[in-house]
Amino acid sequence: MSLDTNDIATDVRERGPLSAIADTQVLPAQWRVHLGLITSVLVMASPLLLAFVMSTQTVPEVYDITDISVGTDGLANYAEVFTRYGMASYMFNSLVMSIVVTVAKIAVSLLAAVALVFYDFRFKNAIFFLILFTLMFPVPVRIVPLYEMMAALGWTNTLLALTGPYVASATAVFLLRQHFMSIPDSLVESAKVDGVGPLRFLWKVLIPMSRGMISGLSVITFIYAWNQYLWPLIVVSDQSKQVVQVGMKYLQSVGNAGQTDWGLIMAGAVLTRLPPLLALIVFRGPLLETFGLSE
């Protein structure tokens, strides 16, 4: 990049955007980069923008394929999926599942990380390895016995079955351990001198010091739990207990009687992706920091 374009950019900033418009032959600096970004952002967002537009349309409007104007149905499809197609209960069930998984996973992993960082004991490395190695066993690798187990325990269609398999987490233990290890010695020493017990130390010192990491992990876990599909599909057969991802599948078959009511299904899709999207936008700071990327 030459010095000239940088000067123009500063110039534009100082004189305000209007002068740049007046100065028609001057393109903003880096226009190729902006064009590339705008194009890729639009391509990635277009399916969801279209889905939102179609969710406001009536059935005839949806079937007029090239009509991509906001429909005359307003938010009627949303009201309908909520009241008539069980969307309210699906979303509630998802919310409960995701919050329970998030809180339990963080709490359990915090305890484990305290043990791994502030204690010295036999088999420590072996136990840490055992925890990390669970990354090799995603749900599909153990799905049949896991289901059999839930059936034998009578846990099918319960919150226990939906959340239990997600409680232990290699990633959360690993990240919290790394974080605790970076805490300055002086702080840990003073806790030791004061004779503060481990749980008090965790509550009074470690958690307040790890707010960013804990919120980042919470968002990641919440999004992960909210988006689960295969396990709820198998372990929950009672529709009133089902989560929203599988609710999408039910919605598809309900809307399929006669002429498929795609506007209705799109309204369901928009609602389903709203909570994780909001979580991402609101907590983008800690989330990106946890991934090693700060704004």
């Binding site: 880096q30 969801l48 204690y119 153990r142 409680v167 299904i265 999207l277």
Partner: protein
């Protein structure tokens, strides 16, 4: 050796803190994984009421089944395309984000939100927008290129649609990690490139890619696991393995054998094969990268 590990000196205390995590990984991860291995040597019949030890019969049956071998080949092709595709798109977007100087924060959030996109929503939305008869994408593709699209009946088209959906959903995740890696490139190196007038694309390929290699290896592993295990919702909602098994990925075949045909032994054998394949691929990827990556 950890840094703070002599803060507390009760081994019992450490084990107590680890107890919830250990209990959860043993109950929900190690025990069912070992059970999967055991189940794979049994045959179930009468809807799972009866079992009989059959040794390696399930495995020999699978390896002799044309349907299963096709599914394995299909899954490999799917994984290769999804990994390369989502890494390539991710790299392009990450690099543009790295280069842009104005509006970085807004572009960033607009580019990474698909990270929070539920797979079931991605599948449902594209099922409609690319629908052979009412989909707007299909409509314009047919109008502009004068082709006839029907991915409900033409195998490769169904495969292509599912692949695009899988890539779309994964890009946000890759962008986050790639941008974090790009941000770690020393500023002095950037200056040197700029002063030497090295063109942008050259800079990306010759300077940044080698420096990013640890992150790229990590992403190849994660994306491979995603391609093998994470695409279930797409298949279940969009194609149900069809048309004529063209999208019958291994995870979907497993699901069908386990939960539609109640063939628990055969399904467990498929879990074992999936585990061995993914573990083997991960190992190979890490070994290869040991040789070529610059850590």
């Amino acid at each position: 050796m950890g840094v703070h590990e002599n803060t507390y000196d009760s081994s019992l205390g450490a084990y107590l803190l680890l107890l919830p995590t250990l209990a959860a990984i043993i109950a929900f991860l190690y025990y069912p994984s070992l059970q999967t291995l055991r189940f794979s040597f049994f045959q179930t019949f009468l809807f799972g009421q009866n079992t009989r030890f059959v040794g390696l019969t399930n495995f020999t049956d699978l390896l002799g089944s044309q349907v299963y071998l096709t599914s394995v080949g299909l899954t490999m092709a799917f994984a290769v395309i999804v990994v390369i595709g989502s890494l390539a798109v991710g790299l392009l977007v990450a690099f543009l984000l790295y280069e842009v100087s104005d509006g970085k924060a807004a572009y960033l959030i607009a580019a990474i939100w698909p990270y929070a996109l539920p797979t079931a929503v991605a599948g449902t939305v594209l099922l409609f927008l690319a629908h052979p008869s009412v989909g707007i994408y299909t409509h314009y593709l047919e109008a502009w290129f004068g082709i006839e699209l029907d991915w409900f009946t033409v195998g490769w088209q169904g495969f292509a649609v599912v692949t695009v959906a899988a890539i779309w959903k994964q890009v946000g995740y890759n962008v986050i990690f790639m941008l974090a890696a790009l941000n770690n490139v020393p500023e002095s190196l950037n200056e040197a490139c700029r002063l030497d007038g090295i063109e942008t694309w050259r800079r990306l390929v010759r300077v940044y890619l080698p420096l990013m290699s640890p992150t790229l290896v990590f992403l190849v592993v994660i994306n491979t696991i995603y391609a093998f295990f994470g695409s279930f919702a797409l298949i279940d909602l969009m194609t149900q393995g069809g048309p004529t098994n063209a999208t019958n990925l291994m995870i979907y075949q497993l699901y069908r054998d386990a939960f539609q045909f109640n063939n628990l032994g055969l399904a467990s054998a498929q879990s074992v094969i999936l585990f061995v394949l993914v573990a083997g691929l991960t190992f190979v990827q890490l070994r290869v990268s040991d040789r070529y990556a610059h850590y």
